[in-house]
């Protein structure tokens, strides 16, 4: 029983990380048809931004409000980079899919190289509050607080995203644009502003994933974003392009499957099962769990 609770909660922690990366990726692809391979870069910027701020930004640190300030700095840095990438590199290429892929793949490689050149290729210890290194007893299981923090953060981001999509004008534009971008334009709306906004939202969520992922893993390394991005893409496809709720369901399915199979099977088999799940979903329901509808 203890083991199942522990596996479930650590699986949900992993799912939370996937969701934070996948939700923005899904909205970007659903609305703008951009397959953004540079999304992992936003995660890396968030992680390294938080790490840097904790040691250098006045008032920031590894504990209490100082850590909150460091995370806020990392998230802001990820958001700014995402907006710049959209405005400078993606916007001129909206009708050129192949060039988009080349640019975002190139950017992701260049981003990792830049982080390596600046702070080295080795993983560095991540500054994190002492309580996140401790565990909490839940139904007899000793669950790491870092994982619980990720779950709470992902739940808050999910709630905030749904409220944004449901109650705001731009949320309405994004939901409509995911269904039929051309018709949104034909109603007199400049949908490109919404493109920038979803990049900003996606960049912020991914940067938060980078910061909290640093807490969860205890280290930060240049390639972290890229490895998480692979599973985030799987989550996006299983959940349905453009669906935040679909991404949440898919992230939970992927996280739990990985955790349970890796424990009860053999290490690494969980990753294979996730790919198998992806294949089954593509065969039986190619549009994913929620299809191409941005649910509020």
């Amino acid at each position: 029983m203890n083991t199942i609770v522990l596996l479930t909660l650590t699986g949900l922690g992993l799912a939370a990380l996937y969701f934070l990366v996948a939700s923005g990726l899904s909205l970007v692809f659903g609305l703008a048809d951009v397959l953004n391979f540079a999304h992992g870069l936003f995660l890396g910027v968030g992680a390294y931004g938080t790490w840097w701020a904790a040691g250098n930004l006045p008032g920031a640190g590894g504990e209490g409000l100082g850590f909150v300030l460091a995370v806020a700095f990392g998230v802001a840095a990820g958001t700014v980079v995402a907006v710049l990438v959209e405005l400078v590199l993606i916007r001129p290429l909206y009708s050129r899919t192949i060039e988009q892929v080349l640019v975002t793949v190139g950017l992701s490689l260049a981003g990792v190289a830049l982080l390596q050149a600046t702070w080295g290729a080795d993983a560095r210890p991540f500054p994190r509050p002492a309580w996140t290194r401790q565990v909490t007893g839940i139904l007899g299981a000793q669950v790491p607080n870092g994982g619980l923090l990720l779950i709470v953060a992902a739940a808050v981001v999910l709630g905030a995203l749904l409220a944004f999509l449901r109650w705001t004008r731009y949320g309405l534009i994004i939901r409509a644009g995911v269904e039929n971008r051309e018709m949104v334009t034909a109603l007199g709306i400049d949908v490109r502003k919404a493109f920038t906004l979803v990049f900003a939202i996606g960049g912020a969520a991914a940067a938060l994933a980078g910061a909290l992922g640093g807490v969860y893993f205890g280290t930060v390394s240049p390639g972290q974003g890229g490895s998480l991005l692979i599973f985030a893409f799987i989550v996006v496809v299983i959940g349905g392009m453009g669906s935040v709720v679909g991404s949440a369901y898919a992230a939970v399915a992927v996280g739990l499957l990985q955790q349970f199979v890796n424990y009860y099977g053999a290490s690494g088999v969980g990753d294979l099962c996730v790919v198998a799940l992806l294949a089954v979903v593509l065969l039986l329901r190619p549009q994913g769990i929620a299809g191409k509808v941005a649910h509020a």
Partner: protein, 243 residues
């Protein structure tokens, strides 16, 4: 036609995926009434409407002149044309299926103007009653009302309406025609329509396209009253037009 045209299309050519869909189309739209674009399937009627609105698909190219109020429209982005007063009711309705009726209408509101919900709900009281229903669960006729209601929420200088009766039951076709007739009393309409009974009821002017070119343009009464013209241009006798 009396008065300055609200829209002037001159030498409009559209090439999509290597195909020359429109080949130098020229016509004008009168400042009042309904100008109808006619022609057999695939002659370029919808392509013409979409080119006017800047919706030529990715990889396509539109050349020529499209002028409204002295300004050339061809190089301007679609959302600006719509804000300048071009209302568009697309073929197949294109309502947002995942949004409610109220959300579909709210999306069409334009910043800085007061949306004319009174006008829309006077014409389509059902849209008011079904505000919380998802648009995807509406019938075809109700979706068409929503598509027309969306553009009537704002004041327009010209409405572009693409096959509004396509796939609808005869009773609903009559209702849609009645609404368009009332709408055309206040704003000019450029209409693509295959149902010749509806054309007969609404059209004041007609432009007939054939193989991407204008084959005939003039008064709708003249076209529809001539069995020889309707047979040669549209492939039907004038008797069928009165259906």
């Amino acid at each position: 036609m009396t008065g300055e045209p609200v829209l002037t299309v001159a030498d409009l050519s559209v090439r999509i995926a290597g195909l020359h869909i429109l080949q130098g189309v020229s016509f004008t739209v009168a400042p009042t009434g309904v100008t109808v674009l006619l022609g057999r399937n695939g002659v370029g009627k919808t392509t013409t409407l979409r080119a006017v609105l800047g919706l030529t698909p990715r990889g396509g190219e539109a050349r020529g002149t499209v002028r409204m109020g002295g300004r050339d429209l061809l190089d301007r982005p679609t959302h600006r044309l719509v804000r300048a007063g071009l209302g568009y009711v697309p073929e197949d309705r294109d309502v947002f299926a995942g949004l409610t009726v109220a959300e579909n209408l709210r999306l069409a509101e334009r910043r800085g103007t007061t949306p004319a919900y009174d006008r829309v709900f006077a014409l389509f009281p059902e849209l008011d009653r079904r505000g919380r229903q998802r648009a995807g669960s509406l019938s075809g006729g109700q979706q068409q009302m929503l598509a027309i209601g969306r553009v009537l929420l704002n004041d327009n200088r010209l409405l572009l309406v693409d096959e509004p009766t396509k796939g609808l039951a005869p009773k609903v076709v009559t209702e849609v025609a009645e609404v368009l007739e009332r709408v055309a009393e206040t704003v000019p309409v450029l209409l693509v329509e295959q149902n010749l009974a509806v054309v007969r009821r609404l059209a004041t002017d007609a432009v007939v396209l054939s193989a991407g070119r204008v084959a005939w343009a003039g008064g709708a009464g003249e076209l529809l009253g001539s069995a020889e013209l309707t047979r040669s241009l549209l492939g039907v006798g004038s008797g069928e037009v009165r259906a």
